[in-house]
Subunit: 143 residues, 2 copies
């Protein structure tokens, strides 16, 4: 006997089962305003940890990858080198569940706020792909 | 005759003078590892507020814009549409002073942590360029 909302035959689902993503409530008109043409069909998607703001990775979406992301609630990207779609974590288990997708002022970049599961976003095992520091300085505090 | 790049008559700068950026201490070898070729000479630079982690904007750097950024301590970008270099805030006054430049695992994207001066990063007057929300959801908290 299954609980309300349970999927058929999942009464004895293993503890390791992958949770489904929650589809996003989205603004289709705004999604159509994304300017994919400027970047040969692709826009950079900045994936940011929804909890602490860490920039985890930058990957690319075309219109189809954005649609899959919005409808599945997990991140989908398009690989420029492999020329194929990929869903983050499908191989590694390090999945990204989406809380928010934001579009910039001129429509050619996205920020995707996620719950990062597993070890992190980077294939090297680091939490963030941006683990190498090119340069540092004190900055100048705003007055 | 003045040195290249020097502005004449700045000895008695007014109190409202723009603070100079502080040049970064940087790793030239790592900077040479940036893979500009993958994006036709450009990499996306995610500019993030060093204080609160807000993603302020995404712009593009080529090798020269990165060099200028590291050496001046303020952000320089290359405009894909205007095909020219631009220093953030030079027109608007909304300058970005750099605290850190980070490189991602495969060398084709940068994160630039800044002290944002003025109103913010966006030409619209918003603090962040990412003020439009395409979609929202609850995400799935990591176990």
């Amino acid at each position: 006997m299954s609980a309300p909302g349970a999927e058929a035959g999942t009464a004895a689902a293993p503890a390791s089962a992958v949770p489904a993503g929650v589809p996003l409530t989205f603004d289709g008109e705004l999604a159509r305003l994304v300017d994919f043409a400027k970047g040969d069909g692709l826009v950079p998607a900045v994936v940011q940890d929804a909890e602490d703001g860490t920039v985890l990775t930058v990957a690319y979406m075309d219109a189809e990858a954005l649609r899959r992301t919005l409808e599945s609630g997990r991140t989908w990207f398009y690989s420029r080198s492999r020329r194929e779609y990929w869903q983050k974590g499908e191989t590694s288990g390090d999945r990204q569940y989406v809380r928010e997708v934001r579009l910039d002022c001129d429509g050619d970049a996205l920020v995707v706020l996620v719950d990062q599961h597993g070890r992190g976003a980077c294939h090297t095992g680091e939490r963030s792909c941006f683990f190498r520091v090119i340069g540092t300085g004190p900055g100048v505090r705003a007055p």
